[in-house]
Symmetry: C2
């Protein structure tokens, strides 16, 4: 279940309310495109900004409209008791697994984070995906902490940050992680520009921002990389360089929100304030890339 393409949809807002209609459309679109799983309420799904009630509702909608596609649900929060409450809500909604990032306000120690994962795995019967995203959590995992957490019962996968672009270095890093985790635990790459390189370097899964909004493109890239047609996958990823450059400049959330708005999948200003999203000039650059690369 923790292999292939996991698509991370936006949770679009409209006037500071979850736009349930648009969200249903996004989930239906992902299921139709044949993604391997859907991760609701990832960073791209703005989990950190939503209330418990909103998150419970979004998890329900995702499961309801995903058909047979397994739905993973992000349960991160700053306080452990809130994380456990989100885990209960996700289970109640019918989630197949939980995604947990160690969100921080005060800097966390390794032991704080280990105990957080222990509390969650003791609390739930659902598999847990470790979410390593230092750009948003401001917590940096060590390989030693990966190893300790991987021994907890129920840890199913680890979502790692972008790998080095050099393929030998990327492979070395994946092997280093593989050497400290159980054989049945998978490694998933994030950072869309790094996805094909990551799959080629031995990652089992791609936890994908762009897959949540442009699922056919992401499915195609994933299948090429999985079927040993890795030269084609590399070429296709290289063709998308203008998109990866926008992500690097503005952050993938703002870019993918602008794409979803341009494609009419969500209403304008779909991100939670204070995140303003891209301005008109920046949007024009995004839409030019969408047109140029024929992403629509």
């Amino acid at each position: 279940m923790f292999t292939g393409l996991s698509a991370f949809p936006l949770t679009p807002l409209h006037n500071d309310q979850v736009d349930e209609n648009a969200y249903r459309g996004l989930i239906t679109r992902l299921a139709a495109a044949g993604v391997d799983s859907i991760t609701a309420l990832g960073s791209t799904g703005s989990y950190a900004y939503l209330s418990r009630e909103e998150r419970g509702r979004v998890a329900h909608l995702a499961v309801e409209h995903a058909g047979n596609v397994p739905v993973f649900v992000g349960i991160g929060a700053l306080r452990t008791s809130h994380v456990l409450a989100h885990a209960d809500d996700a289970a109640h909604a019918g989630a197949s697994a939980l995604l947990l990032a160690p969100m921080s306000y005060q800097a966390l120690t390794e032991n704080d984070v280990f105990e957080l994962f222990r509390a969650v795995t003791e609390h739930t019967e659902l598999p847990v995906i470790v979410y390593d995203n230092p750009g948003t959590t401001h917590f940096t995992f060590t390989i030693n902490l990966y190893a300790r957490i991987a021994q907890l019962p129920g840890i199913a996968s680890i979502k790692i940050p972008a790998l080095p672009s050099n393929s030998a270095e990327a492979q070395k890093r994946v092997q280093e992680i593989r050497s400290v985790i159980p054989a049945n635990m998978t490694i998933g790459i994030s950072g869309d520009q790094s996805a094909v390189g990551g799959l080629k370097a031995g990652c089992d899964a791609w936890y994908s921002v762009i897959g949540g909004t442009l699922p056919e493109l992401a499915v195609k890239l994933t299948r090429l990389a999985q079927n040993d047609e890795s030269q084609q996958a590399t070429e296709e990823s290289a063709r998308l360089a203008p998109l990866w450059e926008l992500n690097a400049e503005f952050g993938s959330l703002r870019v993918v929100a602008a794409i979803a708005e341009y494609l009419g999948l969500v209403l304008e200003k779909c991100l939670p304030l204070p995140i303003q999203g891209l301005n008109e000039q920046q949007r024009a650059r995004v839409t030019a890339v969408v047109d140029q690369l024929d992403l629509a």
Copy 2:
């Protein structure tokens, strides 16, 4: 109102609930020690970890037990609409001012943060203190953004991070900030080890972690620095070096929580999980410093 010592109390928890009894005791102690203001629900008060209901209740308790001491209330949250709700609750509780940090999960732009402060100042009639704490918010203000936000109606003060230890550099930095803000807006130093240096360099206020738990010590330091007995203030701050070193090593929140627990002001394990607080060995070092410096 935005000068002198503003003391930042812990919001102690017990079994994942706000320990209202201990909190009343902390506030009463601050008022009795003659602090110039109390900032409830600062970073030290774990605002980021508490629910809206808990924060409203804590704000009420602070105002109720502060006597004539003005109470400022931290209203930060990841989502603008939540910040506005906290502002309403703080006003309802009788707060004299609001403290606002630009919390982030996704990195914020300068414009995102400016619009957040604009939304809040348009929404409330209470004065607003700008809370610049890149260590927790992961947002770095530029001097240009200070200048833009300072022009908004109702911005009363700015809480700046620790200054350079070199006094000429510290003075230069304070003058640089002063040159871009209105004359009636104050500058407050944070980073307790930097407080005396900051007051000597021209800061009007000290936004103090240690002042929330050891208010007599902080009042004494503040009065010495304010009354041009700055040599004595410098000497007293230098005497406290072992305390400042603990803060640098473990973070001031964990240290001040261990002190409050040692002094019996709060029950053990008063911090919100996942923050475990200091272990036994680390606590022993803190209590040794408390005894050695006669802080009890």
